[in-house]
Symmetry: C2
Subunit: 236 residues, 2 copies
DNA sequence: CCATGGAGACTAACATGTTAGTTGACATAG
DNA sequence: CTATGTCAACTAACATGTTAGTCTCCATGG
């Protein structure tokens, strides 16, 4: 009643989103799960969610079905729905899948990029430099996301971004717990720069190596986290 | 009325599946779409589907929502649902995504495989030889699928297979139209054998090269198809 | 002959009612 | 004190009712 249930009042209002009701409910719930406003293991009750968002059970059910499909919640048939625990298995798999997609993307972009595309990547890179210099961590986080999003966009494959986001949702959630450290941000900058350099000289293999090196930094940091916050993880 | 609508009577009975009603309806519809019993452009009416399958609109709606999410149908809000056209864009993207996942998988398997896993792969390979020798095309198609499924399973990442299937659904549908030719099957055998050889000597790079070569054979054949059956495709 | 607009039929999306299965607390037996 | 069976409360899943938006088609006006 007190701690085992989610706190539906922490959901953001769905008026800020667009699309069908079901989709807006989905976004609100996903945000709460990814940002850890809802903790792993907590029970999702449709009643309070409907009440808070001012909708009926239909769109809420559809939203929960999608979240279950993405592995963010566990639906127990005829019984209940719970926020999924983080599991190192899932995170490892998500990292693997994400890396597969990122490596293929960066190789393709390194081969096919236009001058204009490279200019955009380079502009983003300079923005990253600036933000780190200013110590603007949230801004840098966003620019970092955009760096990867740009690369995917420049493949010309629109679904790529969606698929990449989907497979690495659990990783995203875990990343929320990683505090930005000054040392890590400058390392990140160097790694990004190596990727950009490879793209500049149109060297797919070098781009892949640089990206692999960059992405390889994440898992060890998450593994360290699993020891600090074991209650969020599940052994299975 | 006659040709613009799907023929719901061609749906297979959902009794043959297991899981929730919604999931079984989903499987029945997906089968009909992938096997081209339902043609691109045709309108899906919930009424006849409910009637044929003996269920209410709820599970049908949920199934259609999932199909829309996977791009197999286009839902026009407040209006109707249509079987999605094949598009070379989607197929190219699906091939790219699929290849990204297969290359990452085969490299990992080449590195990490156990002796027992290799034995299973090798057994499948010998089965393929046998089936081609006997001219059993459906059997070979199935063994081919299993060959790729084995590789993905041996990564140890269970969602991989699901994701791979999802991203290449459009490709699967297009492949249904490709007639097996004796020449192509022996080529396929050689390509598979090259992959197996690389896995035997635990050479990830060679395995990737062999797999890339193998997967690269598909797109040209589909592109030829688009000229033969233009009514199934859409320019967008 | 073409444009336009409006009425009706149809639909997805949403709301609500119903069913059947699971869980957990509690009482009772060992 | 532990094991077990029962029962009530709760839930997901499904069925059905309602709403509001879209499309088609035909009539009317230019």
């Amino acid at each position: 009643m007190t701690n085992t249930d989610i706190d539906a009042t922490r959901l953001q209002d769905i008026g800020s989103f667009e699309g069908s009701l079901a989709h807006r409910v989905y976004l609100a719930l996903q945000d709460a799960i990814l940002s850890l406003k809802f903790l792993p293991g907590q029970v999702v009750r449709k009643g309070p969610v409907c009440e808070k968002l001012g909708v009926s059970r239909s769109p809420v059910s559809e939203a929960i079905a999608r979240l279950a499909n993405e592995g963010l919640v566990d639906v127990i048939p005829q019984s209940g729905t719970r926020i999924a625990h983080l599991s190192m298995e899932d995170i490892r798999e998500g990292t693997f899948l994400r890396q597969a997609l990122e490596l293929a993307s960066v190789a393709k972009v390194a081969e096919d990029r236009t001058e204009d595309q490279f200019a955009q990547i380079n502009r983003n890179m300079r923005l990253q430099d600036l933000l780190v210099e200013d110590g603007d961590f949230p801004g840098f986080y966003q620019a970092d996301e955009e760096f990867h999003a740009l690369l995917m966009a420049f493949t010309g494959y629109p679904r790529l971004k969606t698929v990449a986001r989907m497979v690495s949702l659990q990783v995203t959630r875990a990343r929320m717990l990683l505090l930005p450290t000054p040392g890590r941000t400058t390392e990140t900058l160097d790694e990004h720069r190596a990727v950009v350099d490879a793209i500049r000289i149109r060297d797919p293999d070098a781009a892949q190596r640089a990206m692999r090196l960059h992405l390889g930094q994440l898992m060890p940091r998450i593994e360290a986290l699993a020891e600090t916050r074991p209650e969020l993880f599940q052994s299975r």
